[in-house]
């Protein structure tokens, strides 16, 4: 255990540990911010994983063909959107179960991407770091937040945008209403399933973008294990955060920190902590948090309940 605390001490003063944590936290945040909106509307998208993976793969293809990271990111959004479109239309236009559709999409996209990478090998690379003057000055946190691959900075305008969307726009109000009480919303003249589909489309765009971001910020080269369950962790972050944006950010950063342990500890030469425990930490933390808070935190009233007019 002493070993563990030494490791923690070393990591706490290690610039690259913070940097890694933020990089991982941001990929979670891209996905989680979309998922948060979708869950506010009463849907759960297990297919977040597939959206991210499709995004990362398409970003690699896009950048390989056009040599433009921007176009790569656009491809990522489109791919995420396509997966989302399947999810949304099967579970919120047709009444197929959302978890089933999500799971199948995860299996399908993983298979498809694995199959395609066996014959296509897209080339891509990590984008360059851009240092933001002044802001990157403070030790540890400064470089972690403001001396990063430039694609990471896309998340900064995203957060206030998502907040504004949820709490300050009519669409956001309608989304919240639909997630709390679809029947009342329907009678009030809202198109419940249309709104839900829209939130899922948005989730697809953001999760796809997150996948593309991760390729350019961290991995460089596409592999089908690139996302590796981070979609599930992003869902966990939303729940961990009690369906608030602040909470979701806290969840993403927490899980990002844990994720960075996994990377940093071996590089610092510690052997004592098995990587398996770090890998499961976000899951365990989320389950424990749910078990402790689930009775107190109010989840959206109609979360994961499909809406079909005239049925409960």
């Amino acid at each position: 255990m002493g070993n563990f605390f030494h490791a923690v001490g070393d990591i706490a003063t290690n610039t690259s540990a913070y940097r890694n944590a933020i990089i991982v936290a941001v990929v979670l945040l891209f996905a989680a911010s979309g998922e948060l909106i979708a869950e506010k509307a009463g849907t759960i998208n297990i297919s977040l994983e597939a959206m991210m993976l499709a995004g990362a793969f398409s970003a690699a293809i896009g950048v390989d063909i056009t040599h433009s990271v921007w176009i790569g990111l656009v491809c990522a959004c489109v791919a995420g959107f396509l997966v989302a479109a399947v999810q949304a239309n099967m579970s919120h236009r047709l009444p197929a179960d959302q978890f089933v559709v999500g799971l199948v999409l995860n299996v399908l996209v993983l298979g498809l991407v694995g199959f395609l990478t066996s014959s296509i090998k897209p080339k891509s690379a990590v984008v360059r770091r851009v240092k933001i003057p002044l802001l990157s000055r403070p030790p540890l946190l400064g470089p972690a937040l403001f001396d990063q691959p430039w694609v990471l900075y896309l998340v900064y305008p995203l957060i206030p945008l998502v907040w504004f969307l949820i709490y300050r726009t009519r669409w956001g109000l309608e989304v919240r209403a639909v997630g709390e009480d679809p029947n009342a919303s329907d009678v009030s003249g809202l198109h419940v399933n249309k709104l839900r589909r829209q939130t899922i489309y948005l989730t697809g765009l953001l999760a796809g973008l997150g996948g593309g971001y991760f390729l350019f910020a961290r991995a460089g080269k596409f592999e089908d294990s690139l996302i590796g369950g981070r979609g599930y962790i992003a869902i966990a972050a939303v729940i961990f955060g009690g369906w608030t944006l602040k909470g979701a950010i806290a969840g993403c950063v927490t899980f990002g920190l844990i994720g960075s342990f996994v990377l940093t500890i071996p590089s610092l030469g510690y052997q004592g902590i098995d990587p398996a425990f770090l890998a499961i930490a976000p899951n365990v933390v989320t389950i424990v948090a749910m078990a402790v808070f689930a009775k107190r935190v109010r989840q959206p009233g109609a979360l994961a309940r499909p809406f079909i007019r005239g049925l409960k």
Binding site: L173, E174, S185, K312
Partner: protein, 528 residues
């Protein structure tokens, strides 16, 4: 102009009606919900639309606000034929509806709910201001930043009305607006309604099955039966007996039928004999003492409730909706444990919140919402009859379907349940017949106590009559009956003894033969 429309144009012959149904028909499968209906709503008048459940009045109004499209005929707004495809379209034409059951999203605030269904940019300040204006104008006081789940039923209805009035609609539809209100709240509502009509010249449709309230609040009355308009007349000078006959299509003689139309009969000399009070000696079959329940959100649902039911009597629990009736029903259905207090059946304490314990102790229940805890819609009728004791038709743990269906068929016959046999799925039955299945099951267990929570809600007159006679018969057979209802008329009709529930406790009671309606009303309103 059809002849029917002609004779009603009486009041204001120059201006076309604000809204007019012309020969409107709507069928669902084989059922004709509306059959060539003509009806006109005029500015400055309250038009009562009277009819039993299932007479087609709700369907008609849903067409007006665009939830249902007519098959035939058309709707005119200010004389112009229009097609109303959804509620947003209806809102644009100045039509708004206050729904029977609220269309409010509970975790949101008042102003957020008011803003739902609008279009355009969200401007909280403007909406708050608008809420303030409306509440001042019509005396509907409310704080726009309150959350709905903190509000009482009466307050919620104010929100619903404000939501309706926010865009200054020309035409207002109220669908059974008093079903969740106390008598005082109902009066307040009609006073506000009158102001809306007189000050603003709006056209109001008041849809109701309660004769008395339509007579007291409306200017003109249309009566519907089986999807057709059977009568139209100005309210002034109408007499209840004629209207009731038109509603049902025959003479209404029974007191309980009067009750079904909301006519309070406190003379005590109705056709049905008032039973002599049962001797309340010995042990009661059901005794609840000090029952307390706190909801998950910390609200007190039952607050030291005490009550007793003796064998052979019907005890009516009167009260405004949302004062603990649902929780009381839940406790007696084993759905909810008591935080304090005890429940005894025949002197034996029964564990609360333990699956099947109440049923096992001999408490039969006709739940408030049969779809919620009374039956399983996806099961067959036979399965629904045996849900509590499948062992009766099982050997060594395996169920004998043939035996089960056979025994169910007998009950179907005995209770006159209309269905496609024992194997018909429960959802294919009408509401009244579903209720009969529940009743058949509960009575087939020889219960000691029968709890009937809002047993006639949503049923038509025939079904109400059937249910009432069954409750009476059960009491005559020595079962203690606890009738929980928000319809005071129903309780006055059936109960031997009346107690009033308010804020989760019993605040008073009186025998049926010495009932004082004014005092009951006061107690229901929360006065001790």
């Amino acid at each position: 102009m059809t002849p029917a429309a002609d004779h009603r144009a009486g009041g204001l012959p120059d201006s076309p009606p604000a809204a007019e149904f012309v020969e409107v028909s709507k069928r669902f499968g084989r059922v004709v919900a509306c059959d060539h209906v003509n009806l006109a709503l005029h500015r400055g008048r309250i038009h009562g639309v009277l009819g039993e459940n299932g007479a087609g009045k709700s369907t008609l109004m849903k067409m007006l606000i665009g939830l249902i499209l007519p098959d035939d005929g058309h709707i005119r707004i200010h004389g112009e034929p229009v097609k109303i495809v959804d509620p947003i379209e209806a809102a644009r034409m100045g039509i708004a509806m206050v729904h029977q059951h609220f269309s409010l999203v509970e975790p949101l605030t008042v102003w957020e709910n008011v803003a739902l269904g609008d279009t355009g940019r969200l401007d909280p300040a403007r909406i708050r201001r608008r809420v303030g204006e409306i509440s001042e104008q019509y005396g509907l006081e409310i704080d726009p930043d309150d959350r709905i789940f903190d509000l009482t039923a009466g307050m919620r209805q104010r929100v619903e009305i404000i939501k309706c009035l926010r865009r200054d609609p020309e035409i207002l539809v109220f669908d059974e607006p008093t079903s969740v209100l106390s008598p005082a709240e109902s009066e307040f509502l009609f006073a506000a309604l009158r102001r809306v009509v007189e000050d603003q010249g709006k056209a109001v449709a008041l849809v109701s099955h309660k004769l008395a309230e339509v007579i007291s609040a409306s200017d003109e009355i249309t009566i519907m039966r089986d999807g057709k308009v059977v009568d139209y007349r100005p309210t002034a000078g109408s007499d209840p007996a004629t209207l009731a006959r038109a509603m049902v299509g025959r003479d209404v003689v029974l007191r309980r039928e009067h009750a079904a139309f909301g006519v309070i009969d406190d003379s005590g000399d109705g056709a049905a004999p008032v039973k002599q009070p049962v001797a309340q000696q010995g042990q009661p079959v059901l005794r609840i003492t000090g029952a307390s329940v706190t909801g998950r959100d910390g609200r007190v649902l039952l607050d030291g409730l005490d009550l007793e039911v003796h064998a052979g009597e019907i005890v009516g629990v009167a009260g405004v909706e949302g004062n603990g009736q649902r929780t009381l029903g839940d406790v007696l259905s084993s759905l909810c444990p008591l935080a304090a207090g005890r429940v005894e059946v025949g002197g034996q304490q029964v564990a609360t919140g333990q699956a099947g314990a109440m049923a096992g102790a001999g408490i039969a229940i006709i739940p408030e919402d049969r779809h919620d805890s009374g039956c399983v819609l996806d099961f067959t009728v036979a399965e629904n009859i045996f849900i509590a004791d499948p062992q009766r038709v099982a050997r060594r743990g395996l169920m004998n379907r043939a035996q089960m269906n056979g025994m169910a068929s007998e009950l179907i016959e005995k209770f006159d349940i209309v269905c496609n046999g024992a194997r018909a799925p429960m959802w294919s039955l009408s509401g009244g017949n579903q209720q009969r299945v529940v009743l058949a099951r509960e009575l087939s267990h020889q219960p000691r106590v029968l709890v009937a929570a809002q047993p006639t809600r949503g049923l038509d007159v025939g079904a109400i009559e059937y249910m009432s006679s069954q409750l009476r018969a059960a009491a005559d057979n020595g079962v203690g009956v606890l009738l929980i209802s928000t319809e005071l008329e129903e309780i006055l009709d059936l109960a031997d003894r009346i107690i009033v529930i308010s804020n989760g406790r019993i605040v008073g009671g009186m025998r049926r033969d010495e009932v004082d309606i004014a005092e009951l009303g006061l107690m229901m309103g929360g006065a001790q």
